[in-house]
Symmetry: C2
Subunit: 219 residues, 2 copies
DNA sequence: ATAAATTTTTAGATTAATCTAAAAATTTAT
DNA sequence: ATAAATTTTTAGATTAATCTAAAAATTTAT
């Protein structure tokens, strides 16, 4: 049986692999996991012995097929639980992460699949991140940052790039939640800020940073 | 932060305290937890140091107020999760225990309370066991074993004394689930077995052992 | 009431997960 | 291409949770 700590390492390695294709350094893992590099070296040896990852001294690690499947399942569980907490228990999108972080370690395939069905097989979580299906496949969609969205055309907010609490709480407060329709009224060359219409009435100005961290699609 | 293992010890001590009022021996705990007695002695020292229990060498342990509250909260969480799995995800009553055993360790007061509300503040779990409220209080009801229920009178099955999978599966198969109405038609002095009507049509004979492990109330 | 039986604790080890400090290997800069 | 800087690993410790075997304390039986 794999431990929760081991699972968290696999998840971290998966996350880092996405950005930096090729192998992941022990230091990068240490940074992601907030542990000492020496601890990572130890753990990485154990994970390699159990065939969850491929590891060569001084060369970093890559996930094995087995490790990759586990990481994807963890993400699937995490995001499905987030949908549950958001849709059924009415938590806000900035509250669900910490609980899902615990719930993702619950071991029961049947539970995950029933939850999936109970929630109507959602494809995206409350932050707009794709939920892997039973086989670990992620749905994709042609989303772009709001900062690149054409002026005067209605679009829908479908995701966030940044997941920090302050950012999510800021969005909530402005009503820039998932599913919200918007229209970019004006773009200020000077600082990249945007004047946007939110829903049918509200008009707000947001900074380029915010616009960059919001993913949108056409209406 | 208390570990899952520590929580499991507190739960075991709580369970044993219920039966044998007075202090609980380390051996009894070892037996309940399926660990070596020496391991229990070590753990019990740690729990005492953290004020979860009262412990004197060779004299057994009792829960402190703090430990008692944690144990009750664990039972509350366990049973609420069982209701969720049973009511919302349609698991059977013999399937829910193992998952609830994991879910009871999820740390979030808000989650438990929202779940409680979501499930409509249930007072009993799918096995008929009472669910402690926010303050740790158990509901009670004047239930008796079916073996003591008067002949010819309709009653309702509300709980089980034994929780083993084989027993629960046997009951399921006979349709002796919670909420089922029954009537004892005949009682055989010889071996204590009962002929009962289940629902409106089915008639079955059950052994004294079965009748003893079913809790019932008047219709 | 004391010896025998039983229970409980202590002593000494082990494994998972972590750390700091030092050593070794690799990468970068001149 | 070699020295300096950086990254990674090794060595040696620590804590939680577990174990077996032996010692100590308590309980039971005569």
């Amino acid at each position: 049986m794999i431990s929760q700590t081991e699972e968290n390492y696999l998840k971290a390695i998966f996350k880092l692999s996405e950005k930096t294709d090729g192998s992941v350094s022990t230091n990068a893992i240490a940074n992601e996991m907030k542990t000492a590099a020496a601890s990572v070296t130890d753990m990485v040896k154990r994970l390699a012995k159990n065939k969850f990852i491929n590891y060569q001294r001084y060369k970093g690690v890559t996930l094995s097929e087995k490790g990759d499947a586990i990481a994807r399942k963890l993400i699937r569980k995490h995001r499905l639980w987030e949908v549950f907490l958001y849709d059924k228990l009415n938590f806000t999108w900035d509250e669900v992460h910490d609980m899902a972080e615990q719930l993702e370690h619950i071991q029961s395939d049947e539970l995950v699949n029933r939850m999936d069905k109970y929630l109507n097989f959602p494809k995206f979580d409350p932050h707009g991140d794709p939920i892997p299906d039973k086989d670990g496949k992620f749905a994709s969609r042609k989303q772009i940052p709001m900062s690149e969205y054409p002026l005067g055309q209605v679009g829908i907010i479908v995701g966030v790039r940044e997941h920090s609490k302050p950012f999510l709480q800021y969005l909530e407060q402005l009503n820039l939640v998932l599913g919200t329709k918007f229209c970019v009224l004006e773009s200020f060359e000077y600082d990249g800020s945007l004047k946007i219409k939110i829903g049918n009435t509200k008009v707000e100005t947001i900074t380029q940073k915010v616009a960059n961290n919001l993913f949108v699609i056409e209406e």
